[in-house]
Subunit: 302 residues, 2 copies
């Protein structure tokens, strides 16, 4: 079965953790442990978030104006694709030596006319106090918004329209190679009137890119892995209970708060609607069970 | 013709330049201009250095101990593969839209017993004054050595033994995809007694990796592109004159100072000796002429 697996950037770096390499590498090992049975038995394309990592590199690239000016987000995104992609590549090669893996640097085309550019909404990087946030907004021109009790930088999150390296991903799958790609939803680029690609300052929603990837690759399943066990009815209330199985229509009729779950639900629905395939949302450590339908939330066509 | 092209890291960042993204992207565009005819007419594998870029990221990743501890060199290497690989990917896609390109994250296995680990010799990162160098050695435990009139950090440069992603590179070439890979000579890893790969703090000589890559891929030519027009007899003296064509034996009989040219010569000789193929060393902007034998230094088997 061809499966696209989407992993949250927070799976590698939990809130409040120091963004050291060793800490993230440890999380990668845990993630890979959960992914081994899926990678062993299926044709997998693994994609991952990079929000926390881009934020750290953004801060560091601006840390010493005598050394360099801050790097644009597309370039920071390419660095995180290399770094996170390397960690997964090595961990998967070690865990599943009978298979071949490839980490591919990938660009995703967004529309220059996407309304997201006038309304930045995607959180990236470290959490800050209100005072730090005001200072960063003043000093660096960043747009800062509250995220829970803390403050974080926000950047535009345009809709992914086209995955530039899709033919390369297809060629690798045809050669029976498991692909790690489109990290952070892909490096955001626009195609100009002259047909040329160029990077833009944005972060693409990795779940939307994963859905696009799964659709374009005609995958049979899309697994969206996160740190909660399932989508819940009455989330955040004492009556909260997990949804084991729901139709697109059922899911769309419910009211989810904007936040990290909503884009996952939208991505799963979009994939199921477009392909009739199987989508599930749940905990990373339950990856195999999600695929078997014994854990998480399965999204059905009807 | 299958050709491995090796590009110096200094091609993207000249000595004394600010390591801003924009400056390096500009150099990439210039490099790609020179590579277009070669990429259009041949089956190319492009590899590149990353010394200056790893050095900058190393400094930045240690810039704020409250944010993160310094990242290990293998991880910094993976970031530069992503970043430089992205720049070349996009620039090549724009310049040669009729071809497909892929940037691959690549690991290179070195020996844990390599003598280089007890004798660090590879310059990385920024140039420093003697005083700054002493301070960095004291503060960060770096080994610092003089490089011309300036001082720079040195790290071990073990010999590349095996390219982990070689089968993936082959699969891409078979699918008629031009490959950008093994940046910085590949991310340095060792294979433990249990068969597992793990990263090590080293920088692999990209020219040696390029020669290994060219040998393993049975390339017909290896182009080593740098910022000098040719290998010279009497280099650095008033009698210096470029060598247009020389045999391995002739080249090996000459006395070259340790420095950036010697590893290029050794890599070219190693490739020609192992395969009987064609190798040339010369200026990046002369790439096509090097291949035609009308510029640079051609290294012949006998």
């Amino acid at each position: 079965m061809r499966i696209v697996v989407a992993l949250g950037g927070n799976a590698l770096l939990e809130r409040g953790e120091t963004p050291d390499a060793e800490i993230q590498e440890h999380h990668v090992l845990t993630a890979v442990e959960a992914l081994v049975p899926v990678c062993r038995d299926h044709e997998v394309v693994l994609t991952h978030g990079n929000g926390p990592q881009v934020g750290v590199l953004a801060l560091e690239s601006e840390s010493d104006p005598a050394l360099s000016h801050g790097y644009p987000i597309d370039v920071l995104g390419s660095e995180t694709q290399g770094m996170i992609g390397y960690w997964f590549l090595q961990a998967l090669e070690n865990a599943v030596p009978e298979r071949r893996f490839a980490t591919l640097i990938c660009q995703t085309i967004v529309g220059e006319d996407d309304p997201a550019f006038s309304n930045p909404s995607k959180f990236v990087g470290q959490v800050h106090t209100k005072e730090e946030a005001d200072e960063l907004a003043r000093q660096r021109g960043w747009e800062m918004r509250p995220d829970g009790k803390a403050w974080r930088r926000v950047v535009p999150s345009p809709v992914p329209r086209e995955l530039v390296e899709l033919p390369v991903i297809r060629a690798l799958l045809e050669a029976d190679i498991t692909v790690i790609c489109a990290g952070g939803g892909g490096i955001p680029v626009v195609r100009g009137a002259d047909g040329r690609l160029s990077g833009v300052e944005a972060v693409i929603d990795k779940d939307k890119s994963a859905a696009l990837l799964a659709e374009e690759l005609k995958a049979e399943a899309l697994l969206i892995l996160t740190d909660v066990a399932a989508v819940e009815v009455g989330w955040g209330t004492p009556e909260a209970r997990p949804i084991r199985e729901i139709s697109i229509a059922g899911l769309r009729a419910m009211d989810f708060p904007a936040g990290s779950m909503l884009p996952k639900i939208e991505a799963a629905c979009s994939f199921v609607e477009a392909t009739g395939g199987f989508a599930a949302i749940g905990r990373l450590s339950d990856a195999s069970e999600l695929l078997a339908g014994t854990a998480g939330t399965a999204i059905l066509r009807r």
